[in-house]
C-alpha cells in the first residue's frame, strides 16, 4: 500500500513550508519533497513604483534579513543610477550587512538549530526549543540572545531602527556614522567576540555526536556559489560571484552582475512556490548548487581575519577543503559570526569611517540594473528594469534560499530514506527531516515564526487517502 506522510508546518524555520514523504508498499521511503507553501508577489507589485522606493519596499520581503534585501536592492539601484557610491558609504553598508550576518546566524544556530544538537534529534520535543535551552543551558542561550542583540543594536544605531531601516538608499546611505555611535558599537565588540568564540568551542563538543546526521544530512556532491573578494577572501557585500565544482575548484566567475542570467537559470516545480535556480551550463537539475556559509567557506581561500582563519584551519583539517555534508553549515555559520565581528572592528577603525560623504546623487541613467550581495543564507540577486521616468517596469529576484532549493529537496529525500520507517513512525525521525532543512537556514518569508510554535501534524495516509496513523506535535 502506497502511503504519504505530510509534515505540514515545518517548525523552527523562517517562513511556511511542508514536507511530503511518499512511502512504498513496504513502508520504505520512495520519494520526498519540500514544498514552500506561501506566495509573496513582490516582483509583481513593485511594478509602477519609483526606483528610489525599491530598497525600502524590498526590505519588507523579510523581517529577519531585511538588510540583505536593502543591500542587493540598493546595489541594483546604484547600477540604475550608474554611480559609484562614496567609499565610506560602501564601508557603512558593509558594517550593517555584517551586523545582520551576525544576528541572523545567531538566530539560526542558537534559537533554531542548537536545541536539536543539545537535546538530541530524538530529545523531548517539549524541551527541544529555545525555552528548553534557556531552562537547561542558560549561559549558552544567553550567548545566542546577546549575539543577536549585538547585531540588531548595530543595525538600529546605524539605521535608526532595527527592522526595516530606510537608511540604505540608492547612491549610498542617508546619514553618516557619528562618533558616539562608532564608540558605542566598538565597545560592544569584545563581549560579542567572546560569546562567539565560546559558541565555537561548545560546538566542538557536540559536533562529533552526530555521525549519522553528518553522513546523511544533504551529503552529496554539488557545485558551490558565492561572492569572493578580489584577493579571493570571504566576502558578503561586493565582489566576484564564483562558481566552483564539487571539489571547490572554480568553474566560472561573474565579475559583472548583469551577466548573471548566462550562468544561472530558474526552473519552476509544480509542487512549490519557491523557484529552483541551477547552473545554466550544466542544465536542470544537474546544475544543482549550494550557497550560504558552507559554500562561502569552500570558495574563499581564507577569511582574512585572524580568529576566524584559525577556526577555518581547524574546519579544513577536519573536513577537507570542500565538505559535502550540509550538517557542516552549522560550523561554517559559527566561523562567519567570528569573522563578522572581527571585520566590524576593522571597519570601525578605518580612518575615514566618520566621513560625511556618504551619498552619490544621480538620476536614472540605465534602464536595467542588477545587484548581488551575500545574505546570511547565500547569494541574493535583485534585477530591475525601469522606464525612462525611473518607474519600475519589471523585477526578478533570486533569493538566497531559492538557490538551495534543489539541494534542500534532495536533502529531504536523503534524510527520509535513512531515518524514516513508515511502519514505525517516531517523532525523532521526522524531526531529522526538518533538521536537514534547518541546516540551510531557509528564510521562506518575512515571517518570524522562529520559536517552534507552529503545530506539526504528520499523517500517514493510505492510497485511498484514509488516515491510518498520525502524530501531533505540541511545541
Amino acid at each position: 500500500m502506497n502511503r504519504t506522510i505530510t509534515i505540514e508546518g515545518v517548525t523552527r524555520i523562517e517562513g511556511h513550508a511542508c514536507i511530503t514523504i511518499q512511502l512504498d508498499e513496504a513502508g520504505k521511503v520512495a520519494d520526498a519533497q519540500f514544498h514552500v507553501t506561501q506566495f509573496r508577489g513582490f516582483e509583481k507589485f513593485v511594478e509602477g513604483r519609483p526606483l528610489t522606493e525599491m530598497p525600502a519596499i524590498m526590505a519588507r520581503i523579510c523581517g529577519i534579513c531585511p538588510v540583505s534585501h536593502l543591500m542587493a536592492s540598493s546595489k541594483a539601484c546604484d547600477d540604475l543610477l550608474a554611480v559609484e557610491i562614496p567609499p565610506n558609504a560602501a564601508r557603512l553598508r558593509r558594517i550593517m550587512n555584517l551586523a545582520q550576518l551576525v544576528q541572523s546566524h545567531a538566530l539560526s544556530f542558537f534559537h533554531l538549530s542548537s536545541p536539536d544538537l543539545i537535546f538530541g534529534m530524538d530529545g523531548d520535543p517539549a524541551k527541544r526549543n529555545i525555552f528548553g535551552l534557556i531552562q537547561d543551558h542558560p549561559d549558552f542561550a544567553r550567548d545566542g540572545i546577546m549575539l543577536r542583540k549585538f547585531g540588531q543594536d548595530i543595525i538600529g544605531l546605524l539605521g535608526g531602527k532595527k527592522i526595516h531601516p530606510a537608511w540604505t538608499v540608492p547612491g549610498g546611505v542617508n546619514a553618516p556614522l557619528t562618533q558616539e555611535h562608532r564608540d558605542q558599537i566598538a565597545s560592544m565588540i569584545p563581549d560579542a567576540l567572546a560569546r562567539a568564540l565560546r559558541a565555537a568551542e561548545y560546538f566542538q563538543r557536540v559536533r562529533d555526536c552526530y555521525p549519522a546526521e553528518v553522513d546523511d544530512f544533504a551529503n552529496f556532491p554539488t557545485m558551490f556559489v558565492g561572492l569572493v573578494s578580489a584577493d579571493r577572501l570571504l566576502e558578503h557585500y561586493d565582489g566576484t560571484l564564483l562558481f566552483s565544482d564539487e571539489h571547490g575548484a572554480p568553474v566560472a566567475e561573474l565579475r559583472e552582475p548583469r551577466g548573471y542570467a548566462s550562468l544561472i537559470a530558474e526552473a519552476v516545480e509544480k509542487h512549490s512556490f519557491l523557484k529552483s535556480p541551477y547552473f545554466r551550463p550544466r542544465g536542470y537539475p544537474h546544475g544543482i548548487y549550494r550557497v550560504g556559509p558552507l559554500a562561502r567557506l569552500v570558495l574563499a581561500e581564507g577569511c582574512g581575519t585572524p580568529l576566524a582563519d584559525r577556526e577555518l584551519d581547524i574546519f579544513r583539517q577536519r573536513l577537507g577543503r570542500a565538505p559535502q555534508s550540509s550538517f557542516h553549515y552549522h560550523w561554517a555559520r559559527l566561523i562567519e559570526i567570528i569573522y563578522g565581528i572581527e571585520m566590524l572592528q576593522r571597519l570601525l577603525e578605518h580612518p575615514d569611517i566618520l566621513s560625511e560623504h556618504v551619498r552619490a546623487r544621480a538620476r536614472p541613467n540605465k534602464l536595467e540594473g542588477v545587484g548581488i550581495s551575500e545574505a546570511p543564507r547565500g547569494t541574493l540577486i535583485h534585477h530591475y528594469r525601469i522606464d525612462e521616468n525611473g518607474l519600475m517596469r519589471w523585477a526578478n529576484l533570486i533569493i538566497a534560499t531559492g538557490n538551495n532549493n534543489l539541494a534542500m529537496n534532495r536533502g529531504v529525500l536523503q534524510v527520509a530514506r535513512r531515518f524514516v520507517d513508515g511502519n514505525r513512525l517516531q517523532e525523532g525521525m521526522l524531526n531529522r527531516v526538518e533538521a536537514v532543512i534547518r541546516c540551510f537556514d531557509p528564510c521562506l518569508s518575512c515571517s518570524t515564526h522562529a520559536l517552534g510554535q507552529m503545530p506539526l501534524r504528520i499523517e500517514l495516509l493510505t492510497a485511498q487517502g484514509e488516515v491510518c496513523d498520525a502524530l501531533q506535535r505540541q511545541d
Binding site: P50, A56, V169, G390, L391
Partner: protein, 243 residues
C-alpha cells in the same frame, strides 16, 4: 470662496467648549478656535489659501443647529456656542480619516513622506490603529514625468491645496481636478503628463503644501521627504502689505 479677514476693531464674544472667548468680526470659527489655543484638525485648509471645506475634519457642533458645520467655512457670530470635541465629532473624524486611508493606497512604511505626513500624524493622533472599511486598492499611476517633482496618485487625498496654491499664489493654474467622486484626480493642463505641461513654472509650491506623499521631489527615498510651509504665510503677508 475667499474668507475676508476684517481688520476693524469690532469684536465678538462666543463660547467654545464651555469657555468664553473673543474674536474679530469676520473670523471663522476655525480661526477663533485656534487663536484661543485649542486644537481642531484640518487637511484641506491652509493659511494663505482660500477656504475649500472639503475634508470635513474641522466639523463642529453649534448650539441650536442640528447639523454639523465646517469650522473653516463658518463665520463667528455673537453669542455662538461651539463644541469642537464631542464623542460624535471624534467618531466622525475617525471615520473620515479611515475612509481616506481606505480610498487609495496609503502604505506609510514605504512612503517617501513617512514620518512627515499630515494624514499619518492625524491618524496617529486620532488613535487609528486599524481601518474598519475594506481597502479599495485602486490601480493608480505615479506621474514621474516632471524633471524635479513627482505626483503619486496613490497617496493623494484630493484636498486641492496644490490646485489652489498653483492658481492663487503662483498664478499658473496648471493643476486642476478631473472626474468625480472616487474617480477624481489631480491633472495638469489638459490632463497631460506633468513633464509635458506648458504652464507649470516648476516653482514647487504644490509639493510643499501637499499634506501627504502625493506630491514630492524626485529622487527622495523612503521617509526623506519633508515639506516647507513657511513660504505661504510670508507670501500672503507681503501681498496684503503691498496690494
Amino acid at each position: 470662496m475667499i474668507t475676508q479677514v476684517n481688520s476693524s476693531v469690532e469684536s465678538l464674544t462666543l463660547r467654545i467648549n464651555g469657555k468664553d472667548v473673543s474674536c474679530r468680526a469676520g473670523d471663522t470659527v476655525l480661526q477663533a478656535v485656534r487663536d484661543n489655543g485649542m486644537e481642531l484638525p484640518t487637511l484641506c485648509w491652509l493659511e494663505g489659501l482660500t477656504v475649500w471645506g472639503g475634508c470635513r475634519l474641522c466639523m463642529v457642533e453649534i448650539a441650536g443647529s442640528p447639523k454639523l458645520h465646517a469650522a473653516c467655512a463658518t463665520a463667528c457670530q455673537e453669542g455662538m456656542e461651539v463644541q469642537t470635541n464631542s464623542d460624535r465629532l471624534h467618531r466622525y473624524r475617525r471615520m473620515i480619516v479611515e475612509l481616506l486611508l481606505a480610498e487609495r493606497n496609503h502604505i506609510c512604511s514605504v512612503c517617501v513622506s513617512n514620518g512627515h505626513c499630515e494624514l499619518q500624524s492625524l491618524a496617529q493622533k486620532l488613535g487609528i490603529d486599524h481601518v474598519r472599511f475594506a481597502y479599495r486598492n485602486p490601480q493608480l499611476e505615479v506621474d514621474n514625468s516632471h524633471d524635479r517633482m513627482r505626483l503619486d496618485h496613490n497617496r493623494c487625498i484630493l484636498c486641492t491645496r496644490c490646485v489652489r496654491v498653483c492658481a492663487e499664489v503662483e498664478g499658473a493654474r496648471t493643476k486642476d481636478i478631473k472626474g468625480r467622486g472616487v474617480l477624481a484626480a489631480v491633472i495638469h493642463d489638459l490632463d497631460q503628463p506633468w513633464g509635458e505641461s506648458e504652464t507649470c513654472t516648476s516653482c514647487g509650491k504644490c509639493v510643499n503644501v501637499c499634506p501627504t506623499g502625493a506630491l514630492t521631489h524626485r529622487g527622495v527615498a523612503v521617509g526623506e521627504m519633508t515639506k516647507k510651509l513657511s513660504f505661504l504665510p510670508y507670501l500672503t503677508l507681503m501681498r496684503e502689505a503691498n496690494p
